[in-house]
């Protein structure tokens, strides 16, 4: 009995943690993606690893606040180094990302492997920061996460208008006297904090997915910033929930990777099936467009044919019409027939209807007008 209660208690704690992680990373990913800084999240999360390791060496405890502060400092140091490399060397931004990411991550791994050899009993589970380990989450960790998350929410609500303009047009913003560089720095700080609070659950390797996928998915469904941010937060939240449930009911599935897989499924679904921006939508629209071009061409060709005869509604054989048109003629004919523009009095004989005649005239005029 007590076992079931304690299991549920753990599940609830992990679930709350996953919710906080999901919402925060969803919201922050919106700004990261819109500012075309998706990869910055990758850099920050990898750069946080040595900070965690050094913080452990310093405090000799796995208490989350100390480790988080270490992670925040080294994560921020990583972004600072990227900025310095871009400013003072001839290297491009993506090269700077690559350098900082691998150097910090490598350093982190080295220090972690050193820690593994220490006699301390506390060290167990520290390597869970690599891929995340939700089962090690304690109530105190949740409280720390919640406090940091609240700070992020409050700052984003307060500076909503400013962050929007900063993401859209920083030169214009700067011309109105706003300190864009300081706002930039503030948003980067939020990104660092948001990433760090997710590290314990998802790990440094997979955290970057949380900084891209929720916003990438949400962007498919909406063209309003407010809705985008809320939707991204919501996607993050449900992927946190789904990931936690899956990993708790199926043994040996880690929570962090399950959360990442959940958000990835949402993202892939959105990329394919969202109206207006989805791949399938584009494909369907493209086909529809091509079909309508074929049908219109056929209509105009029929008009040209008819003008030679005295009767504009004179019927012609499909093969004769197909000879001057392109593509499968019968398909275009059937479509025109559905719209009532052509009729088919006898087999293989097709002629314009009065409606079709008018439509063809209109098309012809618009073609003449364009050329």
């Amino acid at each position: 009995m007590t076992e079931i209660i304690s299991l549920n208690y753990t599940l609830i704690v992990v679930m709350i943690g996953a919710f906080i992680l999901g919402i925060t990373s969803g919201i922050l990913s919106s700004f990261a993606v819109l500012r075309q800084q998706s990869l910055l999240g990758d850099v920050i999360s990898h750069a946080a690893l040595p900070g965690i390791a050094f913080a452990f060496l310093f405090f000799m405890t796995k208490h989350s606040l100390g480790l988080m502060i270490g992670a925040i400092i080294s994560g921020w140091l990583g972004t600072f180094l990227v900025a310095m490399i871009v400013r003072y060397t001839t290297l491009t931004r993506d090269a700077a990302f690559g350098i900082v990411l691998s150097v910090f991550f490598g350093l982190g791994i080295v220090v972690l492997s050193y820690i593994q050899k220490l006699p301390s009993s506390e060290k167990a589970g520290l390597d869970s920061f690599l891929f995340g380990s939700a089962s090690t989450i304690l109530l105190s960790d949740i409280i720390t996460m919640a406090i940091f998350a609240s700070i992020i929410f409050i700052v984003i609500i307060l500076f909503w208008k400013e962050f929007k303009l900063l993401s859209f047009d920083r030169h214009f913003m700067s011309s109105m006297g706003f300190p864009t560089e300081r706002l930039d720095l503030m948003l980067t700080w939020l990104l660092v904090i948001g990433i760090v609070i997710g590290l314990q659950m998802v790990g440094v390797v997979l955290m970057s997915a949380m900084m891209i996928a929720p916003a990438a998915a949400a962007r498919q469904w909406t063209s309003r910033l407010g809705v985008l941010v809320i939707l991204a937060g919501f996607f993050g939240l449900i992927s946190g929930g789904i990931g936690t449930l899956f990993s708790s009911y199926i043994p040996h599935l880690s929570t962090g990777p399950m959360i990442v897989i959940s958000i990835s499924v949402i993202m892939v679904f959105s990329l394919f099936f969202a109206p207006h921006r989805g791949v399938l939508w584009h494909w369907y629209k493209q086909r529809e467009y091509q079909a309508s071009i074929r049908a219109n061409t056929m209509l105009v060709n029929m008009l040209l044919f008819s003008e030679s005869a005295t009767d504009p509604y004179h019927c012609h054989q499909l093969s004769a019409l197909a000879a001057i048109g392109r593509g499968p003629a019968i398909k275009a004919m059937k479509e025109l027939s559905n719209k009532g523009f052509v009729h088919n009095p006898k087999e293989d004989l097709w002629g314009l209807t009065p409606a079709g005649f008018n439509q063809a005239k209109r098309l012809q005029q618009s073609l003449d007008h364009d050329s």
Binding site: L34, Q36, L158, F159, W160, K161, E162, K164, L165, S167, F168, D169, H171, F172, M173, S174, S175, M176, G177, F178, R219, T222, S223, R224, L225, V227, L228
Partner: protein, 257 residues
């Protein structure tokens, strides 16, 4: 018009301005006075530093040397009197918002920190969209606007700033003839309301029709003043170097006007 210039009544006063990227000077020792109430074109070949000059005047770039004053004061003191229309290509037009929202951004400076745009800003934005002929496009998503429409939205955003001096970076690039007419008409309206308008321009053919002052630039400043005084064959040759023969040939009938 105010051709008798002293430093006090200048809308823009640039002194000894030098701007460099890394070690390469982009602008060298510019002295420029722009009087109030003129419609001025900054003209010069590619790489002459036209956009750099515009951005330096607005304080968006730190100069290596020199100073800029706007209406006799620092840029910071005059920030609410400055209107800006950047190049359209500088922003992501797939940003998730609509035309009205972008126009309202023109009020953010006056709103100041934390305050959100409300009914008043919305009314101003709708009026501005109407002025640029985009009244029916307020709810239109940015990615559904054509190039000319994007440019009009940017112009509406600058108009709503209700500034005393406007800086516009290549407003006529990549727009259709109708949009070009709309834009120049509004710029002339602003000038007639004795606002100062500074435009980066590169089409010499339309220069005399559109503008009344010109600054010729090629890293160094070649000349500036009323078009009739400044647009001489010799100055154009200095500005455009070897390619000037073609330009002056096209331009000479107009310069004599």
């Amino acid at each position: 018009m105010n051709s008798q210039l002293n430093d006090d009544n200048a809308a823009v006063l640039v002194q000894d301005l030098t701007v460099a990227y890394k070690e390469k000077p982009v602008l060298w020792d510019i002295d420029l006075k722009i009087p109030k109430g003129v419609l001025l074109a900054i003209v010069g070949p590619n790489g002459a530093g036209k956009t750099t000059l515009l951005r330096s005047i607005m304080g968006l770039l730190k100069p290596a040397a020199g100073s800029v004053h706007i209406f006799g004061q620092s840029i910071k003191q005059q920030k609410h009197n400055i209107g800006y229309m950047p190049q359209r290509g500088n922003v992501d037009w797939d940003f998730p918002t609509n035309a009205l929202d972008v126009v309202m951004m023109g009020r953010y400076g006056r709103l100041g920190w934390f305050k959100r745009p409300g009914k008043h800003e919305k009314k101003l934005a709708l009026e501005a969209l109407d002025r640029v002929g985009m009244a029916n496009f307020a709810d239109r998503q940015l990615n559904q606007l054509s190039g000319g429409q994007q440019q009009r939205v940017f112009l509406a955003r600058a108009l709503i700033q209700d500034a005393e001096i406007y800086f516009m970076d290549e407003p006529f690039v990549g727009v259709d003839a109708v949009t070009e007419k709309t834009i120049i008409q509004l710029l002339k309206e602003l000038r007639n309301q004795s606002k100062t308008v500074v435009v980066v321009h590169h089409d010499l053919q339309t220069l005399t029709d559109y503008f009344d002052w010109v600054a010729l630039l090629n890293v160094r400043q070649i000349a500036s003043g009323p078009i009739s005084d400044v647009l001489t064959d010799e100055n154009l040759k200095l500005t455009y170097g070897g390619r000037s023969a073609f330009l002056t040939h096209n331009q000479s009938p107009q310069t004599e006007l």
